[in-house]
Point group: C2
Chain length 401, copies 2
């Protein structure tokens, strides 16, 4: 095939908020109305804090409706995927982060955390998962929905939901990025979750978005948030790894999505150094080998994957340090910080000098294997819409003249 | 001069714990006894968690007493400084982190945070600062003590202590790394502290050591701590910067000590990208310029300094990215993760290929200017004990043969 089979490891979907109502268990519908009102207040506060009116206007002008229809309508969605050269997608919640109009109920989306009401957030998660299963039943070969499962409050309840979503055909789920007041992910209470996901072949995700609430609003909150957000989402990676979760569950797969990868080689190199042992950590005894049998970097590509949405050139250039087998490209559709509606151009700009076999892995091969897409089915579509090798490498070829 | 004038920007000192008693205001002496007992319990718990008995035995064999005497006795201290080729030092609390026997009272040392009792931690800080002023009065030209000032609980009280330590001749202070339950450092309540330090020419420090308490002990706690510690200490850097503290107080100097520098170019580059503005952050409006008039990297070497204790070769090689004018070498004496008692060798291994003028800046010139050491006085000593340029560059010269 002279075209790339491209899978976006990071897209977002959700219906207009009020439509979640019908997917909620009836007893939560009253609470839902209050939740929607509270969300609207929050959106108002956000607008006080961030003056993005001008940007929003430009964005709607450029994209028509900012991707709103395609956020929930599978046909509209396929049109955008086709236009962008993408055959399949891994779908997270919260499509409309600008307007805040498509967030999973009761905070069950990207901002899910340990400080929420456990019963309500689980109800919200179930509603989103039901809606998402339905959306993914249209062109199912193109979709891998990521169920949201708040595991922090009631592990037994979470295990029931994991069983249920597996029966609904989900191959991926997302856990809250921030445990906040609940025990961290190294705590043994979560062990049955990791075991269940390993057994069921469900890839566990965290996705950036949440952050600490300990920064006051008056000075620099948004800038501090934007500087720190990567770290809050990265944290579960080393907490899980050092806890030995991947050693106790060798088939457990974990992916860190839309969290950049620029920081990863540096952090993992220090973890390796500690594991190997040396002067700086000698006083800490055998702390690094107690639960972990391999060098931390060795878990990348077997257990740990990096949903490196809209990678920078620096990240592309450091792909071997990040791990070619762990690198999952994504376009973050329909978020405005993603590459939509210019993904074809962005792929050319990013991959123009990446050898074809490596680009194939990063743009779709790794994701196909990890999320168990049926590549035979997708290949037919890729042959029609995928970016051609010639097109992606055109700059390099031109440069060689 | 054919020798380097070497200043360690990171050493530690403290008397044996019980000696703090006499430096405490009398009314806190009873509470102090309870605090010592509680600390001993903590040390016991630490020994349960970290099996370092073998290491400690080796360490004492190698060093005699692990640096205990030199932790508080200025004469013994000068012997070690001379032997290591170091003319002057910037002195933080908590000399004996292994045994836990020389920690400032009531948690006022490296672990100071917002969760402590405000009155007690201030009493402990005053006791340490009095002791430290006394120790620094021996060979004062060689010492820059770093007073510890817990600013989180009562800012007025902190301002009184800042005034007092300035009168005692201190040119540096350390604030708690972790605010925990108190407002973060972007909060306007701390503004008088930054203003006072700027006016008095006192360099504000954070020093690594503290970390979040949200990781449970059972699995991987020590490894997770060691992986994260840099971040908790780094956090005040961008919180202060984005809050605009350096713009409102252009003469404010801030140093981040013993926190590595490997992560710094990556983090600062992203801060620069956000400040310059671009696709990824367009939706956040003018959040990055509201309080900050220059590109974040431009504050390094003028307002922000990096106490890069025992730098790795990678950090030395990336010195221009970190900022030659911001880079402060240190040996972390007498901590076992530092280079003592092999600092001369370590300087050769680290700086063998660094041009002389750059090495002079990093090894002592930057610290001399920042901490206002009297270099004329120190030069005489450096001419006797400082590592020679020839000795440091010997490997490179030999390599060039």
């Amino acid at each position: 095939m002279d075209r790339f089979l491209v899978i976006s490891s990071d897209t977002h979907a959700g219906p207009p908020t009020e439509r979640y109502r019908e997917y909620l268990d009836p007893k939560y519908r009253e609470a839902f109305d209050a939740d929607v009102a509270a969300s609207e207040q929050l959106i108002g506060m956000r607008r006080e804090l961030i003056d993005s009116a001008e940007f929003e206007e430009q964005w709607e002008q450029e994209t028509g409706d900012g991707g709103k229809q395609a956020s929930w309508d599978p046909s509209a969605r396929n049109v955008e995927l086709d236009r962008e050269g993408i055959v399949a997608e891994v779908i997270f919640p919260d499509a409309d982060v600008l307007g805040g109009g498509a967030s999973a109920p009761f905070g069950a989306g990207l901002g899910s955390s340990g400080d929420l009401d456990g019963e309500l957030v689980m109800a919200g998660a179930r509603a989103h998962n039901r809606w998402l299963a339905e959306m993914c039943s249209d062109s199912p070969e193109r979709r891998c929905g990521v169920a949201t499962v708040p595991i922090l409050h009631d592990v037994d309840d979470a295990l029931l939901e994991i069983q249920r979503i597996a029966e609904d055909g989900f191959r991926a789920l997302m856990i809250p990025t921030l445990w906040r007041s609940q025990p961290a992910y190294n705590d043994p209470r979560y062990e049955p979750v990791w075991a269940a996901c390993a057994d069921l072949g469900i890839v566990v995700h965290v996705h950036s978005g949440g952050a600490s609430r300990d920064i006051t609003a008056e000075r620099g909150l948004v800038a501090i948030y934007a500087t720190e957000a990567w770290w809050w989402a990265a944290r579960p990676l080393w907490v899980l790894l050092w806890s030995g979760a991947f050693d106790r569950n060798p088939s457990l797969k974990f992916a860190l999505t839309e969290d950049g990868a620029w920081w990863l080689p540096g952090v993992v190199k220090r973890m390796d150094e500690k594991w190997v042992g040396g002067h700086n950590t000698a006083k800490l005894g055998d702390a690094f080998r107690q639960n972990v049998s391999r060098r931390p970097s060795e878990y990348f590509g077997t257990n740990i994957f990096v949903g490196a949405s809209t990678p920078s050139r620096e990240e592309i250039e450091r792909r071997h340090e990040i791990g070619i087998g762990a690198f999952l490209w994504g376009n973050d559709f329909p978020h405005p910080e993603g590459t939509w509606p210019h993904t074809r151009q962005s792929i050319r700009d990013s991959f123009f000098d990446v050898p074809e076999d490596e680009a194939r892995q990063m743009l779709g091969g790794n994701a196909a294997a990890l999320y168990r897409f049926d590549v035979d089915k997708l290949a037919q579509l890729a042959e029609k819409i995928g970016p051609t090798v010639e097109e992606v490498h055109a700059v390099a070829i031109a440069g060689a003249d």
